[in-house]
Symmetry: C5
């Protein structure tokens, strides 16, 4: 589905144009076309492939989707795959944006994501002095928008972890904690899958040899690179904390088992000792003087109770009960 | 076994030739011979060694097989060892491809792998403008084909892990989970063994000093390098998840033990308390008024049952049962 | 809230000026204005944005607060976000300092921190030959002051860890140890969040391409960089020790469980054996000669006690009791 | 003990010479002496020190032995310490080779190792065009021979690990597995101690600034460097697997404990329930009608057996027995 | 306390001089003063600060002591902080050496360490051709002496670990093992604290931009750097082994618990079964023929014993006892 198709010259919007008129503008000086597609049908992509001379392999990747994030150069043009991350309820929704960038065109193909790029476009149009730098700047703007959505995802995971941490020490069932921690870890892996390769890709867009399209916007990509660096660092910190939290939780499980064992043993003692006494007075010796006492029976019961009361308080003092 | 032997000039296929005619073409300009062998007999390799002047050490490695992936320069020629990975049922089948590359020849020796390179050859022949770059491009095409097969292997392992993860939290026996996780870890190590050294080897084929044969195809090798980078990153992520899953599984085992202990203790209590009461009324005191009651016995039984019912519900409420 | 606003020329303080007079000095040669704000209201920042031409994005970050530490270049000016760390009782209080630096101004915005920068200013004023280097030197002085407060935080954590370590081996309840260790780990993560990105940021301010404002003070930033390097190394060492301490604690818990089990078993034996003997003499066989003995009963009791005494000492010797 | 002492010119062996004649050849052009010592006496080394002008510190190290692998430059000469590794039965035998290399001499001192270097010498002599490159090439040949022996050591450890892995899942006693895994880990550390520093040392012998003696053989040292890179990578992979195997083994121990507990509890139940029933019919109530029944006793026994049979099958079904 | 104060010219000792005469020599060509202090009083340092123009911050650090190892440049002069490590009994004694180095002076301040530098001085004096290189060489000599003492510390820790490793598998109480392992880990952290930052500091003294004082002695500092590299690598290896040993120990604890549980269960069975039989014959059924048998009682006892003997051997065979 074509979302929109606009032609820009010298950083200013010239016109919304129908797809069919694209070729009219491709050879204009300082001019580029910016198309946005969403979940496109095969033939839509194929038409544009012919129009812009997109590389076959890149188009194939865009058709298939489910690519790992990457940045590939095909001659003068670039093909970028990015993962969009949205926090949806308790989970992360991963979408994909494939961006084809050439000297005079930018084509973004979005799939599986609610997050549109209308605001990226309007922000770009508000800053014609930047947009004048051409298609490379649009790539930056898109990448920046994608990366900016990683931060709230990390913040959400940090909050989630904080809740679990509190739960660990305040008695939330250990199983719940483990499941929550593992879920956080899985989401961190999703984030890492998105941010890790993109970090590496962004590193190719500033300093050293840089694709010509991005040469004028290097400093912007350095900025994105820095953001991704911080994001990856946060992910690593979180992973470390999750690992620690899991092992702390395990310690607490063992501890709890220890306490369970003690408590059970205490209760067992409270039952076993009277049983032993009862057993003794159940013996059939002919001569057991106590058995003849008038108060033998109540006395035996009193002794049993007394011993249990004594044991109970001792166990309580030792914090077994 | 000779699979095929073709001579190319300026990127176009000249002819299928018998092995004996190779020497006729070796000094033609812009011409190279591409041979594919499969599980060759020693004398086959030795013949070709003389023909192309292959380095003794490299040929020895190819004879022996079971080499770690590597890339070695012998004067102007290259010798590459790569591991092919195929997903076969529940496992990974590892094969080996040894590639000798010189100015005017490419010799690939394949063993232990079902995966042929016929499609690599036909793809190359469809793109004569690329194949014109010579033997270095063929090395790239082979390497690319090998590496492309690593992705499905990783995807398969990711799927496998997902299944185990679900099993962990939904009650699959812990032993099965452990065995599955360890098996995944082992396969990851197989993949790492294939992809790790190859990543390092690919790094020698672009940027900085590059073997002359590959000088014109540097950008392609950079592409392979990037793929391997992403593959290695995925392997590391997966290893990390497997480690976490193992420790989560351990936590769950401990937890289960905890629960087993509690349940056992509860049942023990249900038996121990009546036993104690029975013990008491088994004492032989002369004066135990209850013993004389008409309803003494049924009462005692009722008390036993009542206590057990009470305990049962308390345990149930405390989730011990 | 404006803390103070001073104009400097050639490294010497010219005058405390009201905010309204700033524009009078901005074009003076070798002159710069140094403003300190604390928890500013939105309009205060907006006024200054207009005055100094601060970049919109940077001002927005300062409005929002809760930024990760970073250093961003906007044209000729710099925007730095740093976390201040104060040891407060048993915890760490994290504040934020945002610094805008341009050729002729330094604007520091402090929030959530008790720690002021009055001493930074007075130290700078005592060293006019350094302050002459301009706004870049002030950035250094602020950064240095922030980083210097990280050291006592690390020392405090090292002390805390030492206390816990002693506790682990001298019988502090394991749960307390775990909670303490996890708290240390959390504080280390807070420190890492402050020091890690700042380390990376400081690395941009010396060697290689350096923002012009900081060109003359590179060596100072190298010093800050070194401090941060040592801080990060200490954090990593501490994290490693905490991890080890957690796993040692787990071992000790398991060990304790082992000992608990043994002790319980020993006590159980002391009860079970007399119970068995009593059971035997409770049997109703017609012919049990012992039952007729005059000293049968006391003998049985003596045997019970004797066995228990024997067991008791055996258990004690085996260190089960 | 002097193993041999040969003088080479232009890559060809001139003569076996006695130690006393060395000085006759030291100033010949394109000429170098290659001595091999084994477990030398102090005076032997001291004689040679004077002859070749070896550095005092290096000679001291060779006297003492038990050095960590390293490469040191003393003016124009090099001093290398390498660890030889041999697989001997179930263990690794570590020897040491110290090599002094100067413009016109190579002196290798071997200790604690069965593995000689006669084959290195004969291989060198078969390739005079390589040996012509002088003493640096001999250093390479020795280093290459040492490193080549690391591969079988790694293979042996991989095989050992595989055996243990199978044992873990097929019921080898856990203690045996742990001991075996720890032994593998220790051997890996021995290997790492040998290969790690040598890897770093080899890195100094190619690219960048290279000692003059090795300048002509850089590419060879790059080869050794690559081998060591692969070896170190394999060591790291193995260490990772061993760590995982240990934690998997721990999980299985916990699991086994879990199963033991269940089985014990089941057997305990099979005894406790009849005991309870017996207790009930051991009560002394006057009115217990069952006691008067002719078939009361056999009935009670039948009930006991019936309950036990029922329990037995239930436990079996739940896989507790 | 002033240990000594000597003036050198052209690498040769001129004279022992009193502190008051230092200024007489400071402007002599090729001349430098080497002072050694030990636990100096504040005024001693202050005097020298004026004499040599030491930087205030460096002097302050020296006053306070307890600095992390570091190397700081103040203009043309250097300030180095190093930790000395001595193996004292079962522990490590950490001292501190602060070294101020300028063009014409070296001032070393030692505290908390028994290890003097008299032998460094005498070694330097024996090698005037080296000492001629000036104050930078003295810094090297001191650093080298400090670093050389790290090796025996590592060796001691390796030996300690070996003892514990043997203990783990041969039955030393697990608690002792854990404490010993943790103590080793703590000492490794002390070593790492000393060697880690120093490694980084040494890296600034060779290659790239080097402080002028050390320019002529770069190669020596590279040597120290290499030593520190090996030391840090050994520390990391040891830390890894300690971590593994801790987890192996935990496995063995779990295993032992498993065995304890089994043994207890076996003994419990030996008591429980006779108790059950006794219970059965303690029932009060009117018609229990066995009770009337003349040999009923002995038979019952024989049955009990027989079952216990049978169980005992079965348990023994299953290695539960």
């Amino acid at each position: 589905m074509l979302v929109n198709c606009v032609v820009y010259q010298n950083g200013k919007k010239l016109a919304d144009i129908p797809k069919e008129d694209i070729h009219l503008y491709l050879n204009e000086p300082d001019c580029f076309v910016w198309l946005a597609l969403r979940d496109p049908l095969p033939h839509e992509l194929n038409d544009l492939q012919r129009e812009f001379g997109l590389h076959e392999l890149a188009v194939e990747d865009a058709h298939h989707g489910h690519q790992r994030p990457k940045l590939e150069e095909y001659g003068d043009s670039l093909f970028a795959v990015m993962h969009t991350i949205e926090v949806v309820g308790n989970g992360l929704r991963v979408g994909e944006v494939d961006v084809f960038v050439g000297k005079n065109y930018v084509l973004s193909v979005r799939s599986g994501s609610e997050q549109g790029f209308a605001n990226v476009r309007s922000r770009c149009e508000r800053e014609p002095h930047l947009l004048r730098q051409g298609a490379g700047f649009v790539l930056y703007a898109l990448m920046d928008a994608v990366v900016d959505h990683y931060f709230p995802a990390i913040d959400a995971l940090e909050d989630e972890l904080e809740v679990v941490e509190k739960g660990i020490f305040s008695g939330t069932p250990a199983r719940e904690n483990i499941e929550a921690l593992y879920a956080i870890k899985q989401k961190l892996m999703v984030l890492k899958h998105a941010a890790g390769p993109l970090h590496e890709a962004a590193g190719k867009l500033y300093g050293g040899r840089v694709p010509e399209i991005c040469a004028g916007t290097q400093e912007y990509f350095r900025d994105v690179y820095d953001h991704l660096f911080r994001i990856n660092q946060s992910i690593d910190s979180l992973r470390d904390m999750v690992t620690t939290a899991i092992s702390v939780n395990l310690s607490l499980i063992s501890l709890q088992e220890n306490e369970t064992t003690k408590r059970l043993a205490a209760y067992a003692a409270l039952v076993a000792v009277p049983t032993m006494i009862a057993g003794i007075y159940g013996m059939n010796f002919k001569l057991m003087p106590e058995l003849q006492w008038a108060f033998g029976y109540p006395l035996a019961v009193v002794v049993m109770v007394a011993i249990d009361v004594y044991l109970f308080f001792r166990f309580r003092r030792a914090e077994w009960l």
